[in-house]
Subunit: 250 residues, 2 copies
DNA sequence: ATTAAACGCGCAAGAACGTGCATGAACCGG
DNA sequence: CCGGTTCATGCACGTTCTTGCGCGTTTAAT
């Protein structure tokens, strides 16, 4: 059994069952659990799965309901949001795309800055309902329920008419070597359009996003202007070498 | 059973039933109640639920904060909604514009009818997040916070590209002699565009709307196909003379 | 007031984990 | 054919995580 074959089979098992157990895999492939752990680490790095105690779970964009994702890691997202909003200046035009982290950022936007917020996420538009100082523009299109976002050609077309000072990008994977990536082709199209139409690119990434890679590439690491992360056990020097300003939230 | 899986399943049970019992979960997952309590503590920390003596209750921020409960006559609107959705057929394309009554209608839409819903209200799009059978199209444009709707020329332009079978009109005033009217010029523009692009016009009106007149005229009484009202102390014969089908909800 | 259930805290056993190191096979240029 | 290198793998060790149990406290209901 070649190592690559084993990785592929673990992938298949993940897709079939949504989860795998480390000791079960060790028995099945007749290798030690250490080897299995190494495999799972690799798959997690590639963004295929998420490691948990005892095995790994499939990492899907709609893992759990929309409400569930909003609740997960809420305090980490709130900390990222508090820092991220300080990077947005008075009177700027801001693209905010759909993600639970970005919803937290939208909620944390200070009311006194008179921003123009452009978003393809109805939830973000609604979150700004109580902020009459901000002007909100909704990007229409086909509403993808599982993602809570409007996607598709119409959305992309509307984006092409707008230039923004800042784009707050909800990334699915951020890796210093590979760059910023997304899980879904439709999402990726919209995000790429927003990148093309904005001058400053801001990425707020929760721990589980950092160092992972998703299938669809959005931008090189060097294109990122601001990277906001939670406390850094990780080595972030590679980002700084790529001229990314890294901000660490408490 | 992985610990993370257990957490996810407790999440699902919470979303399904709105509450969970600690001892029932302990039996179901075959672990001690201590472990369950630890899980519930974790979920509470994430803001998913609220712990109570004996178990936990679902904490839904949007269940209460949506315009859903803002409407004073919530039960009247729910009754109108239950009746109104029966007038919408399988597979139809439906315009639903922004109003609290229409939000109730959107929430009452049966999941099995495979509808295409087109709306300029982010709240209505989000309400359909959990209905994967329906295709939802969001109309973009400038988001008017006080109305919870996208208005303006861009919205009107997008409407002009779509034809619907039914338009569920959120009216501000419905009078047999004057017709249907709206309170705001911007709103009126969007509603007129939707009227022009749909074959059947459905109006669900709460008691306070009936017999009142707002400044901006949308359509003649005769243009209404279905009028859904709550119990009829009022004389509705004038509507029927104008060839309007009147439906009275219990 | 009394009582039984539910709770929180601390502890300990065991499983899972990460890391460093050694082994052996595969690979490669000469 | 051979010496050097790389790589996957397994093992040993210490660490971290989960879980169940005991015990005293709090809560809700009678």
């Amino acid at each position: 059994m070649l190592a690559e074959e084993r990785l592929d089979q673990i992938r298949d098992l993940l897709n079939a069952d949504g989860r795998v157990l480390a000791n079960a895999l060790a028995v099945r492939f007749n290798v030690s659990e250490d080897t299995i752990r190494r495999d799972l680490r690799e798959l997690a790095r590639l963004g295929v799965c998420r490691r948990v105690y005892g095995g790994a779970l499939l990492l899907t964009p709609d893992h759990g309901s929309l409400a569930a994702r909003t609740g997960a890691q809420w305090d980490e997202k709130a900390a990222l949001a508090r820092l991220a909003v300080t990077l947005i200046g008075e009177g700027q035009t801001v693209f905010i795309d759909a993600s639970s982290t970005n919803l937290a950022i939208a909620q944390a936007l200070p009311r006194e800055k008179r921003l123009t917020v452009v978003t393809n996420a109805p939830a973000i538009a609604m979150a700004l309902s109580e902020h009459p100082n901000h002007s909100v523009i909704v990007l229409g299109g086909a509403y993808e329920q599982s993602k809570g976002a409007c996607l598709g050609p119409q959305t992309v077309r509307e984006i092409s008419h707008i230039f923004a000072d800042v784009f707050v990008l909800g990334a699915c994977g951020v890796d210093a070597g590979i760059g910023v990536t997304a899980l879904d082709a439709g999402e990726a199209e919209v995000k790429r359009a927003m990148i093309a139409q904005s001058s400053v690119l801001l990425v707020a990434a929760t721990r589980d996003k950092l160092g992972t890679v998703a299938p669809f590439k959005l931008a090189e690491t060097a294109r990122i202007d601001h990277l906001v992360v939670a406390d850094a056990e990780r080595d972030l020097s590679q980002f700084e070498q790529a001229d990314v300003r890294v901000h660490v939230a408490v």
